[in-house]
Amino acid sequence: MNTLRLSLYGWLMVLPAATLLALFTHIPVVESFVHSFMSTDKPKRPSRFVGLDNYDSLVADPIFWKALTNNLIYALGSVPLSIAIAMMMALFVNDKSAGRSFLRVAYFTPTILPMIAVANIWIFFFTPDYGLLEQILKPLGLGGNNFLGSNNTALLAVTIVAIWKESGFFMIFYLAALQQISPDLKEAAAIEGAGRFTFFRRVTFPLLMPTTLFVMVNALINAFRVVDHIFVMTGGGPNNATSVLLFRIYEVGFKYFDFGLASAMTVVLLCVLGFVALGQFFALDRKVHYQ
């Protein structure tokens, strides 16, 4: 009787959170899955079961493949670099140097700014002729670029913005992890005569691995999820050069009102994210040293 009351008590405690999660996450996921096998509801042609038709059109849609490829490049470009930069910044501001609070705040600022504001700042950096980058490159004889307006550089440009935006956020996690590392280790290493680099490679880096795993999972998920700046900076252009999965889903769902196709794409995106998370946990978990 007592255990029953206890477990009832427990269920009641999680009920509010569980309800919200179910309402806004789990039910929509299931619905997307169901809708991906249905045709889009039109007044003259009500929704009906169409099997794999939506997935067939998806496979036949070159823009979907373009968006998927772009998204992979965007992820592979932004994740390792933002993690490396985050780690370096954390190591740098972890020392007891003068003005480190100021530096910490400075590194963290991009994280506080809303993505839309960030995008507008970077539009100015990338503007042809008189943008910040052009003003630096022109005197060097490297001017005449149209970063957001040409096929070769647009995806790179939006990737850089993502790196700039994410690094400061991940730095906070590394900073917290660094504070956990006992100073004894540093003293012991010094007595053994280990240099700074050896200490980092053999002690600090392995001890940071759990954080790195956590950050990497988050960074990869964000690479598929945080694409607000693409709406502002390029609108997916030129000619879909910066279209990524989530952007394409929005376009198909809310511009074309083709919910069937958009649902199929959502299912693909969910699968990609699921595999990313699972793969990372299983492949990397063994290499991570937990204290």
Binding site: V34, D41, D129, G144, S150, P238, F254, Y256
Partner: protein, 430 residues
């Protein structure tokens, strides 16, 4: 939408409805009206003022203006509300979205809302260029409100410096190309310091491109909105001309030109000419430190420009009483005096000839003659592309144009691909 979400929707709507009716007087009619903001300036404030003015003149009717984002977001919200059984009474949405709204069975024809011969005369009082894509299959579905058209802006000082007549813009493609070449300036290292012309090509590239195709004497879609004409040799020629301004003549920046920063390029003297919407007139007028001219878009065989912007739509499911109130409000919003006021405050083109006869508009035009150019160009204007599955087909055209402008594909191949894909999308409507 499944039954569960529908039930949730209905439940929340009911809850909301109860809240409203408890706070408002029982006899009041409430009209919800969704609108987008697509240009600079205090649009929300002006709309709220108009709504308040109407409520004062019409006790018993409450107007609830709902700012709903840009055009795409606004139609998204409106159609979602329709599917949830909670449609607004009125909305300002893209004129070109008429096909989507009719295909979704979301709007009622204006013909069913108007009752008297005076109402009929009112509908006939708008410029035909604006009414063209307010109609579908002989029925009128929309009332023009915030309509725009692009014009050519030129910097008179730069014209003078290049030895051109500062009071005359280029009249056709050849002149525009010659002028642009003469107006392009380079520094010692060969870097361009002043461009001859900028025709923005990112985002909705098709809109300004319709100015080029119309100027070449070709229509990009049929009146029924079931066929497009992308692969026509004249369309290809127009796209080639646009690309060559950059590639061959070097008078326009290479790659895509940003819609949003182009007015700033013009104001800061980075470009001597630009194609842009009249919606930016007030902005350029207030910020340019040099005299500037406004002219028709030059064409090859004739003048031509697209119209764009938004119309009023009446949504389905209103009681007769509400419909009458909605009609009264739309009439109030489109009187010649209000159209003139709206036009002078925003730069949108006033939607009817009568507005240009009002004292306010005459005074404005006397002070700023450029404002009249857009109206005079309407004679040559055509609606922006309006076909079924409009957003999807527009995107095909935009992709093709952007592929060409960035040098990824030749004009004829890109447009042929877009044509084939558009025919596939439109096959259900033919």
């Amino acid at each position: 939408m499944t039954s569960l979400t529908r039930r949730l929707f209905t439940a929340s709507t009911l809850a909301l409805g109860l809240g409203f009716s408890a706070s408002a007087y029982a006899a009041d009619i409430e009209l919800r009206f969704y609108y987008p903001v697509a240009v600079g300036g205090p649009i929300t404030k002006i709309i709220d003022e108009y709504a308040a003015g109407f409520e004062k003149d019409n006790p018993g009717i409450k107007i609830k203006p709902v700012y709903a984002g840009d055009y795409v977001q606004t139609i998204g919200k409106a159609l979602t509300a329709v599917k949830g059984g909670d449609a607004p009474e009125l909305a300002i949405l893209l004129a070109a979205d008429i096909t989507s709204l009719v295909d979704e069975d979301a709007v009622v024809p204006v013909d069913d809302v108007i009752k008297t011969p005076a109402d009929k005369a009112w509908v006939e009082g708008f410029y035909p260029a604006f009414m063209e894509n307010a109609k579908l299959k002989d029925k009128t579905y929309a009332i023009p409100f915030q309509r725009s058209t692009p014009v050519l802006y030129w910097n008179k000082e730069m014209f003078k410096a290049a030895g051109l007549d500062p009071d005359k813009g280029p009249k056709d493609w050849n002149e525009m190309r010659d002028f642009a070449k003469k107006l392009t300036k380079k520094d010692a290292s060969g870097a361009v310091t002043q461009w001859g012309i900028e025709i923005p090509s990112d985002g909705n590239s098709l809109w300004l491109f319709t100015g080029l195709t119309t100027g070449n004497g070709v229509r990009i879609n049929n009146a029924e909105g079931t066929k497009v004409n992308f692969a026509d040799p004249k369309v290809v020629e127009a796209l080639q001309y646009w690309y060559d301004l950059s590639k061959v003549d070097g008078a326009q920046p290479a790659g895509l030109i940003n819609w949003g920063t182009t007015p700033r390029d013009f104001i800061e003297g980075r470009t001597a000419m630009m194609w842009h919407t009249t919606g930016n007139l007030t902005n350029v007028k207030n910020n340019a430190k040099f005299p500037f001219g406004i002219g028709f878009l030059p064409g090859k065989t004739q003048f031509g420009a697209p119209t764009g912007g938004g119309n009023f739509y009446f949504f389905k499911g209103m009681s007769a009483e509400k419909q009458a109130a909605a009609l009264a409000f739309v009439k109030y919003m489109t009187t010649p005096e209000r159209a003139a006021d709206w036009s002078t405050k925003t730069g949108y083109v006033a939607t009817q000839p009568a507005a240009y006869e009002t004292p306010a508009m005459k005074a404005y035009a006397a002070d700023f003659p450029a404002a009249i150019i857009a109206r005079d160009q309407l004679k040559y204007a055509v609606p922006e592309m309006t076909v079924h599955e409009n957003q999807r087909v527009t995107k095909l055209a935009n992709d093709a144009i952007q592929a060409v402008m960035t040098g990824a594909k030749p004009a004829d191949a890109a447009l042929k691909d877009a044509q084939a894909e558009a025919e596939r999308v439109l096959k259900d409507f033919n």
